[in-house]
């Protein structure tokens, strides 16, 4: 008899694939599905803009494979990676529906109130809230139910801003949630340290549960970047949101260094974000615009194709609590160079690592991978093997252990 059968979790998140804009949704889905497979049940509450529908929330059963996982949506303009500015834009475009908050923080609080209503109706044993947007919801649920609250930190305000211009209101919400949580989960030791240092939380209250990756069968997409590689040209890939946190500027400056020694390389920057135009200009002013190619946010086969075409994937993040993309890359057998300022570097032995600011060292490593086939092959084979051993099941088991400890 599995003890987890009785366990019912009320989970608050931001996004869920396929409607995701980044790794957070992928991680939430991976973890939630794996927890359900262990025998527990989850009500997963998400913000979602719902046109022409006055009911505050809605029940959806997205796929039959995940018995025990129930998605509940609250009508809201909140989305992952939202900022005060982007919220104002969204609000302008959705004026016809008067229920949304007048600014981001008002909307977050309103979302919390809606969550309270759900918490009053639902039966559950424990509350699990992912990141700051869902913290007010988690707190409200805890207040009305008296059930323990787990706050999982996928990223802090310090990661998102690179430590500059930390939004005080976001910080306050995070701080309040971390203080009120019965237990905190961080996605790496790297993030645990940040939570201890910046939020003054007792390290004993924090457990690390690493993210994982869903193992998909290997496919060969029809559309690919192979034509770029004619004449033995190489491809180095950056893939992620083009924001300060991801270090696209370091990527470009490294590219410049590499190109000075090896001009047969293309640097692909795949993704969108608030620094995109700045980066396009930067590549021009560095004089490497002909070697740097920008693509939009890639999905599905195009995403796989980008990984497969690349000779090396680079993640130069300034501050990366976990970092899913290197795992995706290694699943496609493309070796990775990752920032030491990342959580994923704690679990990947078969990868190259450098400080994000050390562009000389990154260039040294990129040049080496492109020059020595043996290095490329070893990193690819061993890295692929290593990633195949990472499973959501292990993360889910650790998570359930934490629930049971809190409930005991």
């Amino acid at each position: 008899m599995n003890l987890n059968h009785q366990l019912k979790i009320l989970m608050f998140g931001w996004e869920f694939p396929p409607h995701n804009s980044g790794g957070l949704g992928v991680a939430c889905k991976g973890l939630a599905n794996a927890i359900v497979k262990q025998g527990a049940t989850i009500s997963f509450v998400l913000p979602k803009k719902m046109n022409c529908d006055n009911s505050p929330f809605k029940f959806i059963f997205p796929d039959n494979n995940s018995d025990g996982l129930e998605i509940k949506n609250i009508d809201s303009l909140l989305s992952a990676y939202v900022t005060s500015e982007s919220y104002q834009k969204l609000l302008k475009n959705n004026k016809e529906n008067g229920i949304y908050g007048y600014d981001l923080f008002n909307e977050v609080r309103r979302y919390g109130q809606e969550a309270r209503k759900i918490a009053l109706k639902e039966k559950f044993d424990i509350i699990h809230a992912h990141d700051w947007l869902s913290i007010p919801a988690g707190i409200e649920a805890k207040k009305v139910s008296n059930k323990p609250l787990i706050v999982q930190v996928h990223a802090t305000e310090f990661d998102r801003t690179g430590g500059n211009n930390v939004n005080q209101q976001v910080y306050e919400i995070e701080k309040q949630g971390l203080s009120m949580a019965d237990k905190i989960i961080t996605v790496s030791k790297f993030t645990k340290k940040k939570v201890v240092r910046h939020y003054h939380i007792n390290p004993e209250k924090i457990e690390v549960v690493y993210n994982a990756i869903k193992q998909e069968p290997f496919i060969s997409p029809k559309r690919n970047f192979q034509s770029l590689k004619k004449g033995n040209k190489k491809i180095v890939l950056f893939l992620g949101r083009i924001t300060l946190q991801k270090g696209p500027d370091y990527f470009l400056r490294t590219a410049k260094k590499v190109l000075e020694r090896n001009s047969d390389v293309f640097f692909i920057v795949a993704g969108s974000g608030d620094m995109k135009f700045q980066m396009i200009e930067e590549s021009a002013s560095l004089g490497i615009a002909d070697k740097v190619l920008f693509t939009d946010f890639l999905r599905g086969e195009d995403l796989i194709s980008a990984y497969q075409s690349a000779d090396l994937f680079v993640m130069p993040s300034v501050s990366e609590p976990f970092g899913l993309t290197p795992l995706e890359s290694l699943l496609q057998k493309t070796p990775v160079l990752i920032s030491k300022q990342s959580g994923v570097s704690e679990i990947l032995s078969h990868s190259l690592k450098a400080d994000f600011w050390d562009i000389d060292e990154m260039a040294n490593k990129i040049l080496s991978v492109l020059k020595y086939p043996a290095l490329c092959q070893c990193l690819s084979e061993n890295g692929n093997k290593e990633v195949k051993e990472i499973s959501w099941q292990d993360s889910a088991i650790k998570c359930l252990k934490i629930y049971n400890q809190v409930l005991a």
């Binding site: 000389d360 040294n364 490593k365 043996a374 070893c378 061993n382």
Partner: protein, 409 residues
């Protein structure tokens, strides 16, 4: 009679400096003198000096009944000469007792045997010269790096005039036979001593392991295990790293107290004595022939070279180094040749090992790199710098070489 043959291997490499692609062609140093001295200082203090003192006392206090043998690599001797002459002196004192045998090996603790017989021979002779120069001593018994051994190598060493050779007493070679006899390798008449790995590893690896059933290992318990060989053996070969004493096994484990006492426990039995490899070869008859068709080493559970040459980065780096042999030798530049030979030190390839985790603890020992790939990148950048130096020298030697395409890095 049962003869105990205690043999200790001492080696410390010249570790490489972190060498970036941007250092190529800039006369940047290859070796991390500071770090090498730092490691050596620690080992000298924790292991070499206290152990040599204990060994000398044992010889004196047993009136020469206790005997021990060493192999000391040329690259270690070079470092000791420069920074720790007192350690050289302590080895000299030991040799002066007449109870110590020094074995031959490659000066550079290299895998040269596998890539160039000519270079292998030269490095053995360089080591011989160094031992003669420092200790006025000429070795007669050979051991190769990591105790690697096969029939063919035995023939080569026999032809060089050595009367004995050491090897691992691997189960798959010995089969039903005991390691506790003198043997001959298939195809040559040289004396072959094989390591009793169980009794050797009891000290070298298991001494401080609380989960081991033999823990704690006391001198009388250990002597009783050795005495068990009476009746089915003539010798017990205890081969291990010198650094077992004080470094692999820290002082706090009681390893020094053990070393101080166990020879007396062994000598309590009048049917036991200590002998060096040469003495064993002179006094015993080979019990039979052992067949080592393939290379066998004393390393890891596999007893092979997979920790040095098991993956593609290791293989490509070492091939690259030996591919430069002809040019380097032709140029006849002392500094260039020495740098090239120091790149052959086996440790550089050991640091590139990716088969981690099972044997991970030993592999991490004094490893200056964060991961094996960094070790490879550093090594390859240095090789490329060396290639540039070769090209420069070639142009100087013969203007005709100037047409040769320079190596692009």
């Amino acid at each position: 009679m049962l003869s105990i043959c205690l043999y200790l291997h001492a080696h410390q490499p010249f570790r490489l400096k972190n060498f970036s692609v941007f250092d190529i062609g800039n006369d940047s140093p290859y070796f991390d003198d500071e770090k090498n001295k730092e490691y050596l200082t620690r080992i000298v203090r924790k292991s070499y000096l206290p152990t040599n003192k204990i060994l000398l006392d044992l010889i004196k206090n047993t009136n020469g009944k206790f005997k021990v043998s060493f192999s000391i690599t040329g690259v270690l001797l070079e470092q000791l000469e420069k920074d720790f002459p007192e350690v050289i002196k302590s080895f000299q004192d030991l040799i002066d007792t007449g109870c110590v045998e020094i074995l031959s090996e490659t000066y550079y603790h290299s895998l040269a045997y596998l890539y160039s017989k000519e270079e292998f021979r030269k490095q053995i002779n360089l080591h011989k010269k160094k031992i003669k120069e420092l200790f006025d001593y000429t070795p007669e018994v050979f051991r190769n790096t990591e105790l690697m051994f096969n029939n063919e190598m035995a023939k080569f060493i026999s032809k060089m005039g050595y009367k004995g050779i050491l090897a691992e007493g691997a189960d798959h070679i010995l089969g039903w036979r005991s390691p506790n006899f003198l043997y001959q390798p298939k195809g040559s008449k040289i004396g072959l001593l094989v390591k009793n790995y169980r009794l050797s590893d009891d000290i070298a690896f298991r001494f401080s392991t609380p989960s081991w059933k033999g823990y704690p290992l006391t001198a009388d318990k250990y002597a009783s295990w050795i005495n068990n060989a009476h009746g089915n053996g003539e010798i017990v070969n205890l081969f291990m790293d010198y650094e077992t004493f004080g470094e692999h096994q820290w002082k706090e484990t009681g390893i020094f107290e053990f070393l101080k006492v166990f020879p007396y426990e062994i000598l309590k039995n009048p049917e036991n004595d200590f002998k060096t490899p040469s003495e064993i070869i002179s006094s015993s008859e080979p019990a039979g022939e052992l067949d080592y068709p393939h290379i066998v080493t004393w390393a890891d559970t596999e007893r092979d070279l997979s920790a040095w040459l098991g993956n593609k980065i290791q293989q490509s780096a070492i091939k690259e180094i030996y591919s430069l042999e002809k040019e380097i030798i032709a140029i006849k530049d002392k500094k260039l040749t020495e740098d090239w030979r120091k790149l052959q030190i086996s440790d550089h390839f050991y640091y590139m090992c990716t088969k981690w985790f099972a044997d991970g603890d030993v592999h991490k020992y004094f490893n200056p790199y964060e991961n094996p790939y960094d070790a490879f990148i550093t090594c390859m950048n240095i090789i490329n710098d060396l290639k540039l130096r070769i090209e420069t020298k070639k142009i100087k030697i013969s203007p005709g070489f100037a047409d040769t395409k320079p190596i692009i890095v």
